[in-house]
Structures are given as C-alpha cells and as structure tokens.
Amino acid sequence: MNTKSMNGSKKQNMESEAADRRVAALQGAMLAVNFAMVSFICIFIYMTTERIRARYDAREFLDSVVTIPADPRMNLIICLSLMGMLVVTFAIRHFWTSLSNSWTVVTLLVDFIVCAAVIYQLDFNYNGLLLLAFANVIAYVRDGKIKLLFVILAVCGYLVADYNLLSIYMPLYRVVDYIRYYPANTQQYLSSINSIMASLNMILFIAYCIYVINRQRGTIEEVNQLYHELQTANEQLHEYADMSERMAQTRERNRLAREIHDTLGHTLTGIATGLDACLALMDISPEQTKKQLELLSKVSREGIKDIRRSVNELRPDSLERLSLEVAIRKMVTEMSQVSDVKIYFETDEKHLKFDEDEENAIYRVIQEGITNAVRHGKANRIWITLKKVDGEIILVIRDDGIGAKEIKSGFGTKHMKERIEMLRGTVTFDGSNGFTVTARIPIRWGETYD
C-alpha cells in the first residue's frame, strides 16, 4: 500500500510539472506577444517620425494628430528597457525555483509597476500588458486577499487605462494617427498587424485563463476524492472502536462471572454443604452442629471479604487506590491541565467516606458534569461544591459557560440522573446562568460488616 501511494504521488508530481511547463509556456508566449507589440508600436512611431522629418511633412502631419510623444527615440529606449525588466522577472520566477513567496509577490508588484509605466509611456495606446500582469497573478498568488488586491488593481487599471476615456482629460498620441500618414494600402497592412497582435494577446490570455481554471478545478476534484476516502477511513475507525469496546465489555463480564464463580460460588457451595451437614448432625450432636455452624460463619465472613476484594478490583482506578476527595482533586487537576478550564473544588467535610456505590456515583457525576461543562457549555471556570446537610449529600456543579435554554436529555444529563436515582437521590439542572447541576443523595449510614 505504501509503495503504491508513493508511486501515485510521483506520477502526480510528474503530471503537475508538465502542467507547470505548459503554464510557463503560455506565460512566455504572452510575454513574447506583448514584447513584440510594444516594440512594434515604439519602433513604428520612431521610424514614422523619421520618415515625416525626412520628407518635410512635419507641420502638415501635426495638423492631423491629437498630440505626439515627447521624444520617440527615448520612448523606444525606455519601453524596450522596461519590457526587458519584465523578461528578467519572468526568468527569475521560472528558473529560480526556490524563490520564496514574498519575493514572488515582489516580482509581481514590479511587473505591475513596469506594465503601468509602459502603458503610460505608450500614452495608453496599448493596455493589453495588464492582461500579462493579471495572468501572472492568477498563476502565482495563492493568498486570497493578495490575489483579490491584485485582481482589483488589474481590473481598475484595465478600465482606467483606456485611451478613449483618458483622451478626454489630456492630449494623448494615437498610433492610428501615425498609421494614417501612410498610403491607404500600407495603412491597411499596418492596422492589421496592430490588431492581430492585440487579438493574439487577448486569445492567449483567454486560453491561459481557461487552462489555469481547468487545472485548479482538477485540484479541487482531487481534494474532494481524498476527503471522501478520509471519511470512509474514519467510519471504519469508529467501527473498530465500537468493536473493541464490546470486546472489553465481554472480557469484563467474563471476569465478573469468573470472580462470582470463584468467590461467591465457592463460598455459597461450601456454606450450603456445611448447612446440609448441620441438618444431619443437629439431632445427633448439637455440640458438633454448633461447631459446624461456627465454621460456616467463619467461611461466610471469609466469603464476604473475598467479594469485597473482587468488588474493589472492579472499581475505577483512582477510587480503588485513593480516597474519594483525593481522587476528585486528582481528576480536577488533570481536567484543568488538559482542557484549559479552571476548576474549583470545595468541600466542608473532613472525612469524605461513603459507601462505594455512593462514592462511585459522586465521582462519576462530577466527571460527567465537568465533561458537559467543557464540551457543551464552553465554560472557562467550573465550581464544584460538596457538603452534607441533614443527612443528605448536596453536590453542586456550576459553570460560566453558555448554558442551555432547554435542558435536553442526551447532553450527558441522562446518565447522571440514572446514577443518582439508583441511590434514591434527586438531581436538577438549571441552564439559565451558565449551567448548574444540583444533586441530592440521601446517605445510608451503611451496614458495616465488621
């Protein structure tokens, strides 16, 4: 199973590497198209300017334009250098595989600024560069907030950096004006180059988006499948847990049966046989019978001791070894430690010594109460008081949690109720201010056997 999954992940890695290469190829193609487009615009404007100057058409040309770039040669140099920077950041992202996330974001920010600068330098004649910057964001930024920020930036940029919109507010040069300088057939040729490149960029961007989105959807499906598998495994685990619990119960029953058989069965059998002997002896020798009865009494006391010992063995660990108060304090400390809840235990009794079933019930109720307060009440503090009033034990477990408007059974309250009722006690619950459990247990001043 292990080798199989390793093979699987290797295959997946290879697949994702191939996909990464395809993404990189698309990004590279977009970069190339944009580079070509920007170069085309700059070189075309520079060459046309030179041509106009050489032909002494300058003044007439000016009449046909909105405005002109400040310095076409400088424009060309600046734009090509800026595009060069885009190539550098592209290369850094692709060949520097161990680039940290924050550095990737820095390169993307640089891209954005460079794209904005080029678009500004080109007087908003070509804003397709923003698509390039946007494509990189889609691929690299995983963090939702940063991605959203970039997306907003790109969308706003794309909307605002529109020639037609901005030319209302400031004079901007138009590539079209420079194209119009040429004869009609050359104009058509130039316009088509211009629009084909712009469309190519758009098509690449759309293809790229579709590819990346598809890939991300594939990842989502993969995650869904894994989640499903995990759930199945979880269910299986639950079943295993149930089964082992049942097995533990069976083991416990067998032990009980064995104990009863070994101790009670043995003693009772002995007593029954001894009593039979007494019945036979009674008329013949009362003295003998008396002796026999004394022996039986001794045997039955031994039996009681045995039963007490075996019952002791069945008690919870702490209670078996410790007194009730110490056991409760130990539990409280342990719970505080594991659940980050402050638990205060208070009692005014110096000797907490009750019958075993009573101690058991008190211990279990407290345990249950703390568990409920932590699990359902989300409590931060729990106060437990235990006192004796008029021959009754009063146990109060109060917490500062969210409480409960209606007390539903199954909130762990059912068990508590059962345990207390078995001792003829009463238990009340109050969920109005935190959650309060009040249990009253009448004390049996228990039969002592010795």
Binding site: R53, A58, R59, T67, I68, D71, P72, W103, P171
Partner: protein
C-alpha cells in the same frame, strides 16, 4: 538562500544606481544650454535686417545674470520655414526650451500639450504682474482658459490715409472717432473717372474687407471656445452689407495695389509694422513716394467702436524643458523686461506689449528719429489705446480652417452679389457643422 537574494538585490541596486550617477554626471559635465527657437526676419512680413539685435542683447543680459548658462539659437530659419522646422524638431523631441510661436501654430501646439502651461510659473513669481501687458496681447497667449504663451511683440491694424488725395478733393482729414458713414461719404466723393476713359481710376478703399468692418461693428464671429459661430448675427450682416455697398461704388472694378501705390486710393488698412517700415529710411523712398500719407484709427460701425485687429507674436516654453526656471526667466526677460521691450521700437517694426513702454515718451522719440521731419508720429497714447482695445483672434484649434472657409465664402457672396442675409445663414450652418464635428 536569503544571503543570495540580498546579494542579488544589492548588485541590481548598484547597477541601477551606477547608471543613474553616470547619467547625472554626464549632464553635469556640460554647462547648461538653453535652446531658443526663433525665425529670422519680421513676423509682420516687412523687411527686417535687425531681427537678431534684440535677441542678442537679451542673451547677453541673461548670460551675464546667469553664469554657467548659455543660450543657443538657430539662426537662418526663415518665417516661412519656421513652422515646418519647429514641427520637425517637435516630432523628434528636440524642440527648443523657449521659442517663438506663429499665430497659425499656437492653437494646434497648445492643444497638443507641447506648450507649457505658464500659470503655475506666473503664480509662483511674485515679481510678475500680467497687468503690465496690454490686455489684448496677453489674452492672445491663452488657449482653453490657460496661459500657454506670453506676447513678445504686438502690431495693431491702422487705417492708411492718402492725405494728398484728400487735400486734392478738398476733404478734411477724418478724426480718430470717425464712422462708417464718414468713410462711405468720402468714398463716394473720391471714386470717379478722372481721365475720362469710361473706367473708374480713383477709388475710396483698397483691401478694406468685411472682417475690418465686423471688428468695428462690435460683432463676434466665433464663440471664444470655438463651439459656435455667429456669421448670421445682425452686426455681421450689417458689416458685410456695408462692404457690399462700398464695393458697389467701384462698379465691379477691382482695386489693385498698383492703384494704391500710384496714389489713386484714399484708404487702406495697414499694420503698424508696415506704417513704421514705409515711413522710415530706406523703405520710405521705395513706396508711397508720390503722396503724403498718415494713419488713423479704423472707422466705427453703427453698433461698434474705432477698433481694429491686433496681431501678436507669442513666445512659449516647451512642456518637456529640463530647465523650467531658466526658461521662465528668459521668457520673462524677452517679454517683460522694459529695456528689451524698448528695443522693439529701435530694432523691430512692431510695438511693445508692455503698456508703459508703448505709451512712453521715449518710444515717441525713438520712432521720430527715423522719420522725415514734418511727419507726425502716432502718439503713444493713441497707439496704446488701439492696442488695448484691439480685437484678437479667438484661440481654438479649428479657428484657422473655419476662418479661411468663412472668408472665402463671404468673398464669394460679395463678388457674386448674393443675398447677404440668407447666404450668411447657410454659411453659419455649414461652419457650425464643421466646428461641432
């Protein structure tokens, strides 16, 4: 890994920093050179041998005041070539820091954003007071409500009067508040066939056109932002009709420059530059020698005043200049310095754009120096008044085209004796369509 990142970052910063410092140092090595763009000759189409005198003087003054700064200008660009020369410089991004702008280029260049908006500079400069300029001249440098240029030299249009002809006909010289009616009356009197060949050979006006009449009738042809034209307005209609009436006096005959030069025409609109040129040596002996002449204001129409068109030579700063403050200082020296502006009267033919300079006694004495004794000099006060109240061309991008369209159409209306009212209405619609395109 981190170390490597930092190293590469430092290396990149070093390379960029190095380039920056190298570029800066490259700039620092040379002295600051301020380019000045100007054309040789006069803006007013009159001969001008001294076109560099004023500029050279200004440069000398400027370089003395700003050591380490040199002003460079290209000599030898003629006015006719200047527009193309400047446009070629502009296309290559090599336009001068400070430059002269032709009236026909100003609107186009301003709309393109190649001329610096001077308003922030004006606001920053506490020593600069626009009130010192003639209002009309100052406003010529405005486009779309912003000041893009400052006036350097101004030339109003005056009315040339052939004094000899009027004296011969026994007509008194009109005063400066004369009207269309006075003009028409004189024209009626002087227009005649003197030699009896059946053809008219003496006329009232030459070149007095409908625009001169429009300006003096208080009419506006265009909305100031060029959104609309008012060619069918009653003042314009009146003006065109008035020109039609005068034309009718000439019975379809064309009055020519030769008629005027021969002394057979009583009135002709003439720029102040022409007035100065032909009143002074050596040109006064080449033209208008056979008669005595002088200049007065234009006649006022029924609804207007004695106004005339004012032409201004503008200067501006390039938006892309790297020496904004120096460019501003130099522009101010040329257009705002009284000493330099006084030079305009000494070495050029126009008038100063500064009120105090044009209306000074010094100006009168400078102009008098070159004139023949006995010739009266136009008084500074009258000149100033003509300039101050003068009409300027509206500054909007389509003005030149719209105006030439209107001018040729109105000429055709007058030539072909079309109905003025309806023809102007049609023309107004046509031009409005063009303006709103």
């Amino acid at each position: 890994m981190k170390k490597r990142n930092i190293l590469i970052g430092v290396a990149a910063a070093a390379v960029f920093g190095g380039i920056g410092i190298a570029a800066y140092a490259g700039n620092m090595q040379h002295e600051t050179v301020l380019e000045f763009g100007m054309f040789a000759g006069s803006n007013w189409d009159v001969a001008n041998a001294n076109s560099f005198v004023i500029i050279d003087k200004a440069i000398e003054l400027f370089e003395k005041e700003h050591p380490g700064v040199r002003i460079h200008y290209y000599s030898g660009v003629r006015k006719d070539d200047y527009s193309e020369w400047f446009s070629r410089k502009l296309l290559a991004g090599q336009e001068p820091d400070v430059f002269m702008v032709l009236g026909t280029d100003f609107n186009q260049f301003s709309s393109m954003g190649v001329m610096k908006d001077l308003e922030p500079l004006i606001e920053r400069d506490a020593s600069f007071d626009p009130e010192k300029y003639f209002d009309s001249a100052f406003r010529t440098g405005q486009y779309g409500g912003k000041q893009y240029a400052l006036p350097y030299e101004v030339v109003p249009t005056l009315m040339f009067v052939n004094k000899s002809l009027l004296t011969k006909e026994g007509i008194a010289m009109p005063d400066e508040n004369w009207t269309w009616d006075d003009l028409y009356e004189i024209c009626q009197k002087v227009t005649k066939d003197v030699d009896g060949d059946g053809l008219l050979d003496q006329f009232g006006t030459y070149n007095y056109d409908w625009l001169d009449a429009v300006y003096t009738n208080g009419a506006e042809i265009f909305e100031s932002d060029g959104s609309e034209c008012y060619l069918a307005g009653d003042r314009v209609v009146e003006a065109v009709k008035f020109i039609g009436q005068i034309d009718d006096l000439y019975q379809g005959q064309n009055v020519t420059q030769e008629d005027f030069n021969a002394g057979d025409v009583a009135f002709m609109p003439l720029t102040f530059a022409e007035y100065r040129t032909y009143k002074t040596y050596p040109y006064r002996i080449k033209r208008y020698t056979g008669f005595q002449w002088d200049c007065i204001t234009m006649p006022a129409g029924g609804q207007g005043e004695n106004l005339s068109q004012v032409d201004t030579l503008l200067m501006g700063i390039s938006t892309n200049t790297r020496h904004e403050e120096l460019a501003w200082e130099f522009l101010k020296l040329l257009t705002y310095n009284e000493e330099i502006q006084m030079e305009i009267f000494r070495s050029s033919q126009g008038a100063s754009v500064l009120k105090e300079v044009t209306q000074s006694e010094e100006m009168e004495s400078i102009v008098q120096e070159d004139m023949e004794e006995g010739d009266t000099v136009i008084s500074g006060e009258l000149l100033g008044q003509v300039i101050e109240t003068g009409r300027i061309k509206p500054q909007f991008k389509k003005y030149e085209q719209a105006m030439s369209l209107a001018d040729s159409e109105v000429s055709s209306i007058l030539e072909n004796d079309k109905t003025v009212d309806s023809s102007l209405k049609i023309l107004q619609r046509t031009i409005n369509t063009y303006l709103q395109q």
